[in-house]
C-alpha cells in the first residue's frame, strides 16, 4: 500500500470516527440511531450550498452546518423519541432513505442525481485532527458529568434512572442534539475530502459501517468508536494487498472473533475494572485474618 493511499484511508478513518462518535452519542443514552448519516447529509449539502453557491466563508459555513445538524437532531428527537427501541432504530433508517429521496429531488440545492461540488478547504489534516480532538474532548468531559452519568443510567436501566429523578426523554433529547452536531461535522468533513457529494455519499452503507465500528470498537466508552472506526477502515485496506480478494473474508472472520470473545468491543472499561477488582480482592485475601462472617455461624452450632 502506497503512502498516499494509506494517508487517504486514514483521512476517511478520521471522518468515520466522527460519524461513529455521533452514533455513540445517542447510543450511550440507550438509543440505537443511524440518523447521524442523515444529519451528515443535511449539513454537507448545506455546507456545499452556503460555501459554494452563496459564497459564505468556509469557517462560517462549517458553523452553520454543524448548528443545523444539532437543530435537526433536536427536531428528530422531538418527533421520534417516544417510539420503542427497535421502532426508533427503524425510523432513523427511514430517515436515511428519505434523505436520499430529498437529495435527488431538491435539484436546485443539491444538484439532484448528479450531485454537487463542495469546496475542499476543510479537507486538510489540521481540520480533521482538530475536529477529532474537539469531539473527543467533549465526549471525555461529558463522561463523568451530571449528564454523562445520567446517560449511563438511562442506557443501563431507564426505569431505575427515573426513580433517581432522571427524565430519560430529556437525556435522550440532549444525546440526539450532540449526535446531530457531530454527525453534521462528520458530513461536512467527508464532503470536503471528497469535494463531490451525491445521493449515494450518505446512504445506508455508511450507517452500517460506522455502526459496526461503534459496536466492535466498544460502545461503552468514547474511545471505542474512535478505535473501532480507525481499525475497521484501515484493516480492509491493509489486507487488500496480501490477501487479494480474500480481504473481506479475513475482515469478516475477525469481526466474528471480536463479537464472540469481546462482546463489549475492543475498548471495554468494564473488563478492565473487573480485572482490577479481582486483583484488589486477591491482594486483600492474601493478608486477611479470619473474617467475622466465619464466626457468626459457629457459636450457634456449639450451643445447640
Amino acid at each position: 500500500m502506497s503512502t498516499t493511499a494509506l494517508l487517504t484511508t486514514l483521512q476517511f478513518a478520521g471522518v468515520n470516527a466522527l460519524f461513529a462518535l455521533a452514533i455513540y452519542a445517542s447510543l450511550r443514552t440507550g438509543v440505537l440511531s443511524l440518523a447521524p448519516v442523515f444529519f451528515g447529509a443535511v449539513s454537507a449539502f448545506t455546507f456545499g450550498y452556503t460555501a459554494g453557491t452563496v459564497g459564505l466563508s468556509v469557517p462560517l459555513a462549517l458553523v452553520v452546518g454543524v448548528g443545523l445538524g444539532a437543530a435537526m437532531g433536536a427536531v428528530t428527537a422531538v418527533l421520534i423519541i417516544r417510539l420503542d427501541s427497535h421502532y426508533l432504530a427503524m425510523a432513523t433508517i427511514a430517515m436515511v432513505l428519505i434523505g436520499r429521496v430529498l437529495i435527488i429531488n431538491l435539484v436546485e440545492y443539491t444538484g439532484g442525481p448528479t450531485g454537487t461540488l463542495v469546496p475542499g478547504d476543510l479537507g486538510t489534516w489540521a481540520w480533521l485532527i482538530g475536529s477529532l480532538v474537539v469531539a473527543c474532548y467533549v465526549m471525555s468531559r461529558l463522561a463523568g458529568s451530571r449528564y454523562g452519568l445520567a446517560a449511563d443510567a438511562v442506557r443501563e436501566d431507564p426505569a431505575v434512572a427515573q426513580t433517581l429523578a432522571i427524565s430519560p426523554r430529556r437525556i435522550q433529547f440532549v444525546g440526539f442534539v450532540i449526535s446531530g452536531a457531530l454527525g453534521g461535522a462528520a458530513g461536512i468533513f467527508q464532503a470536503s475530502f471528497l469535494q463531490y457529494i451525491g445521493p449515494d455519499t450518505f446512504y445506508t452503507h455508511l450507517g452500517f459501517v460506522t455502526l459496526a465500528a461503534v459496536v466492535l470498537g466498544g460502545a461503552f466508552h468514547w474511545a471505542g468508536p474512535v478505535v473501532g472506526a480507525i481499525a475497521f477502515t484501515l484493516l480492509p485496506e491493509l489486507l487488500r494487498e496480501p490477501m487479494g480478494e480474500y480481504d473481506r473474508v479475513v475482515t469478516g472472520v475477525l469481526l466474528v472473533i471480536i463479537i464472540i470473545y469481546m462482546p463489549r468491543g475492543l475498548v471495554d472499561v468494564r473488563r478492565l475494572r473487573l480485572l482490577r477488582s479481582r486483583g484488589r480482592r486477591r491482594a486483600v485475601d492474601d493478608d486477611a485474618t479470619p473474617t467475622p462472617t466465619d464466626r457468626d455461624t459457629t457459636p450457634a452450632q456449639v450451643t445447640t
Binding site: Y137, V138, R141, L142, G144, S145, R146, Y147, G148, L149, A150, D152, A153, E156, D157, A159, V160, A161, Q162, T163, L164, A165, I166, S167, P168, V174, F220, V269, R270, R273, L274, R276, S277, R280, R281, P292, T293, D296
Partner: protein, 286 residues
C-alpha cells in the same frame, strides 16, 4: 375487602401523613393484585408491609414510586397526588426506593453508582462541564465526597472503585440504599432490604433505618424478617391476596388469627396435616 383489624396504638410519631394511599386497586388481567388498599404513613414513621408471597406488597411499592399506574385510588405524597405522575417526577417529590431483585447499573463502580443517584442535587450544565468551570469541578469533587460518606453510612466497606455488580449480595443491597439516599429523599421505600443477609447484617440495617428516621426520613419497607419488623417497625400493614388483613402495631397485627392463617394456613389445615404426618409415620414405628 373488609379490613379485619385496625388499631392505632402504635408508638411512633403520628404527624401529618407523608404517604397517604386510599382505595388503591390494580388488576393484571383477571388477577386483582392490589384490592382497595388504604394505608396512611405519617412523617418520620418506620412502616412495614408484610404478607406472604403474592400478597401485592411490591405492587403497592411500584405504584407509590410510579413504576406502574393504579387502576383506581389515590396516592398522595406530602399532600400532592402522585398517582398519575411519571416516576422521575415522583422522585423529585422526594420518593426514593430500592428493589427486591437488586437493580444496579452494570459497568458502574460503587462510587459512580451513588454519584449517579445525586443527579437531582447537581446543578451543573453540559456547557460548564465542557468549559472546565471551577464550579463544575468543585461539584464533581463534592458529590464524590458525599457519595463516599453515604457508602460509609450504610456500611459498605468494599473499595469504592470496584464494580458494584461484583460485590457481595448484602453490599449490593447497601449500595442500592446509598444510591437511593443520594437523591436526598424524604420518603424511602425499601423492598426486602435484608433479603439474603445474616442476623448481624439485618440488625445493622435495622439500626440504619432508625438512624435515617432520626434524620427526618419516612421509611416504608417490605420485610419478611419478623424479628426485625417487631424490633424496628412502629406500624405495619399485613396484606394477603391483594387486600389488607390488619393494620396497626406489629405485635398486635401478628397475633390476629387472619394474619396467622395467611402465613401458616388454616388451623383446620394444620390439624389435618398433623394427622396425616402421624398416620404416615405410624406403621414404620417411632
Amino acid at each position: 375487602m373488609t379490613v379485619l383489624g385496625e388499631r392505632d396504638d402504635v408508638t411512633g410519631p403520628s404527624g401529618p401523613a407523608a404517604v397517604d394511599i386510599t382505595h388503591l386497586t390494580k388488576a393484571f388481567g383477571g388477577l386483582t393484585a392490589v384490592d382497595d388498599v388504604t394505608i396512611s404513613v405519617p412523617e418520620r414513621r418506620i412502616h412495614g408491609i408484610l404478607g406472604p408471597n403474592g400478597a401485592g406488597k411490591t405492587t403497592v411499592l411500584n405504584m407509590i414510586s410510579g413504576f406502574i399506574t393504579a387502576d383506581s385510588g389515590t396516592i398522595e405524597v406530602f399532600g400532592h397526588d402522585v398517582a398519575r405522575m411519571p416516576p422521575f417526577k415522583i422522585a423529585r417529590r422526594g420518593v426514593a426506593r430500592t428493589y427486591q431483585n437488586i437493580r444496579l447499573f452494570p459497568g458502574m463502580t460503587v462510587l459512580e453508582t451513588v454519584v449517579a443517584g445525586a443527579y437531582l442535587q447537581r446543578r451543573s450544565t453540559i456547557l460548564s462541564a465542557l468549559l472546565l468551570s471551577p464550579a463544575e469541578r468543585r461539584e464533581r469533587r463534592e458529590v464524590r465526597e458525599q457519595a463516599a460518606e453515604l457508602l460509609d453510612r450504610v456500611g459498605v466497606r468494599a473499595d469504592h472503585g470496584t464494580l458494584a455488580e461484583t460485590l457481595s449480595y448484602g453490599d449490593q443491597r447497601r449500595v442500592e440504599i446509598a444510591r437511593a439516599l443520594a437523591t436526598n429523599p424524604r420518603v424511602l421505600l425499601l423492598d426486602e432490604p435484608t433479603a439474603g443477609m445474616n442476623d448481624a447484617e439485618s440488625e445493622a440495617v435495622g439500626r440504619l433505618l432508625v438512624e435515617l428516621q432520626a434524620s427526618g426520613l419516612t421509611l416504608i419497607l417490605i420485610e419478611h424478617n419478623m424479628r426485625l419488623v417487631e424490633q424496628f417497625c412502629e406500624s405495619v400493614t399485613v396484606m394477603s391476596s391483594g387486600a389488607v388483613l390488619a393494620q396497626g402495631a406489629p405485635t398486635w397485627c401478628l397475633e390476629q388469627d387472619d394474619v396467622k392463617e395467611a402465613y401458616f394456613g388454616k388451623r383446620s389445615d394444620a390439624a389435618r396435616i398433623a394427622t396425616l404426618r402421624r398416620a404416615r409415620r405410624g406403621p414404620s414405628g417411632s
